[in-house]
Structure formats: structure tokens, C-alpha cells
């Protein structure tokens, strides 16, 4: 009378829903990855998904790494070329992203719009410190998951 296979399948189906459903449905899971990009761009801050800026912005970012938002992030030419190619291949093509000329993700219109409900005190919190600190609230940002279901405002 017991149907372990069927029960297991149902459990899998139910367990899978909250993960796969919302994360994929709202398109906020970024899967493009590259070990060099992850290691180099992720050593001082989260390795920001390439889809968050258009190719032209990534080109500009990569050509100014010695003065990278106030710090020297320079790379040897071969590494820079490899990362640059990865960023451009996976750059944002959606209209709202492609229309941007900002180099700072947090200054783009879409970013400000997406975060317009975040109260000022959250941005100023010592645990958040800066809007560029994605992982402070997006608990699975490191895995490319930016769904609202993965958001937890630090207390």
C-alpha cells in the first residue's frame, strides 16, 4: 500500500517549487559563470553578474581597472582579456539594461527602481554599508540568485 517512489516524487516536486518557481519566474537568477571572473572580480566584492551592465559599460570598466572606483584593481593583460570577453559575451541585452551608460550598477535607473522600496535606514545600516554590498540582503547573491524570495534585510 505504501508507494515510496510516488511519495518521494511528490516530496521532490513540493520541495522544488519554492526554489525553482519564483527564482526562475522573475528572471532574477544569473547563471553565467567563469572561474577567472569569479576569482578576480570576486576578490574585493561580489562578482557582479555580467547581465547587470551592457557590453559597452563592461568595456569601459575593464579599460580603467587601475582606477576602479577608488582602488587599483589592475590585472595582467591576458587575464583582463579573458574576463573582458566573458563579461561582453554575457552582458545585459534587455532594453532596460542595454539603454544604460552608467558604469556603476547601483546608479542605473533599473537598480534604483528595483530598490525604491528599501528604506533609507537599511542603506545606512552598518551591516549593509553600501548599495554595492548585494550579499548583505540578497542571501544567495554569490550563486547569482537575486529573487525577492532570497532577500533578508539584516537586523
Amino acid at each position: 500500500m505504501n508507494h515510496p517512489t510516488r511519495t518521494g516524487f511528490l516530496a521532490l516536486l513540493i520541495a522544488g517549487v519554492p526554489w525553482a518557481g519564483p527564482a526562475l519566474a522573475d528572471g532574477h537568477r544569473y547563471t553565467a559563470t567563469d572561474p577567472t571572473w569569479k576569482a578576480e572580480c570576486g576578490s574585493c566584492h561580489l562578482a557582479y553578474p555580467p547581465a547587470l551592465l551592457p557590453a559597452a559599460s563592461w568595456r569601459a570598466v575593464m579599460s580603467g581597472l587601475d582606477k576602479h572606483f577608488g582602488a587599483d584593481a589592475s590585472l595582467d593583460p591576458a587575464t583582463a582579456a579573458r574576463i573582458g570577453a566573458f563579461l561582453e559575451q554575457n552582458a545585459g541585452r534587455k532594453r532596460k539594461v542595454a539603454a544604460e551608460s552608467e558604469l556603476r550598477i547601483t546608479a542605473t535607473r533599473w537598480f534604483r527602481h528595483e530598490h525604491d522600496e528599501v528604506p533609507a535606514y537599511v542603506w545606512k545600516s552598518a551591516k549593509v554599508k553600501s548599495p554595492s554590498n548585494c550579499a548583505a540582503c540578497h542571501t544567495n547573491a554569490d550563486a547569482g540568485a537575486f529573487s525577492e524570495h532570497d532577500v533578508e534585510i539584516p537586523k
Binding site: S43, C44, H45, L46, D66, G70, A71, D72, A73, S74, L75, D76, K129, S130, S132, N133
Partner: protein, 142 residues
Amino acid sequence: MRLAPAFLATTFLAATAALAAVSDVHAETPADFLHAYEAAARQGNPGFPGFSVQRGEVFFKTTHGREWSCASCHTPNPTAGGKHAKTDKPIAPLAPAANAERFTRPDKVEKWFRRNCNDVLGRECTPLEKGDILTYLNSLQK
């Protein structure tokens, strides 16, 4: 007969230089880095006095006319983990006694010295400064 010692000496010097060059590229321990910095420091200053723990510590913990010191991110205790002064991203301990991966990869060491000296001092560090910093870091026990 009188040429032989000179020839041998030249060969020896060439071999030493070749070894030094090899260890510069493939250095794998903090000691290898120190030898390379010492050779470079001696080249610039034949009266090179040797590296200093105290000089390294002062250099590490003070600012150099700019906003950051090495300790701003690595903390004044390099056997502990630090965090990036701007982004808060965790940084693994810098002292080799606390983190065996430090000073084992020439490409990494030179990349971070280049970047961080530029951020802290606005220029690259000299071999003397690098040697002092590493001598200080080597003096620390976990």
C-alpha cells in the same frame, strides 16, 4: 691556468643569477620571496642593512599621506582575518603562520603588492619595503 679561476667564477656567477631568476619566478615559500627582495634591494643599495621587523610593522600600521594603511583592511593584527575597508568583503589572514597560502604564488603576491601599494602610497613598493613587510609578517605567530 690563470684564466681558469676567472672562468669558473664567471660560470658560478651566471649560475647563481640564473637560479635567482628562477626562484624569482617560481618562488613557493615566504623565504624564497625574501631572498628575491634582498637580491633586488642589494642591487639598488650595496650597503643594504638587512630587513627589519620594526620598520615593517611601522610601515604596515601607518598611513602614507593617503586615506588607507595596510592595516585598514588587514587589521593591525595580520594573524587575524580582515575585511575590505570599502566593501566589507572578508580577507583571509595575511601572516604566513596563520595562512599557509600566503606568499606562495609569485603572480598573486606581485599583483596584490602592486595594487595595494598603489592604493596606500600612490606608487609601487620598493624591494626594501616589501622585504620589511614580509619580515614583519614572518615574525608573527598565530
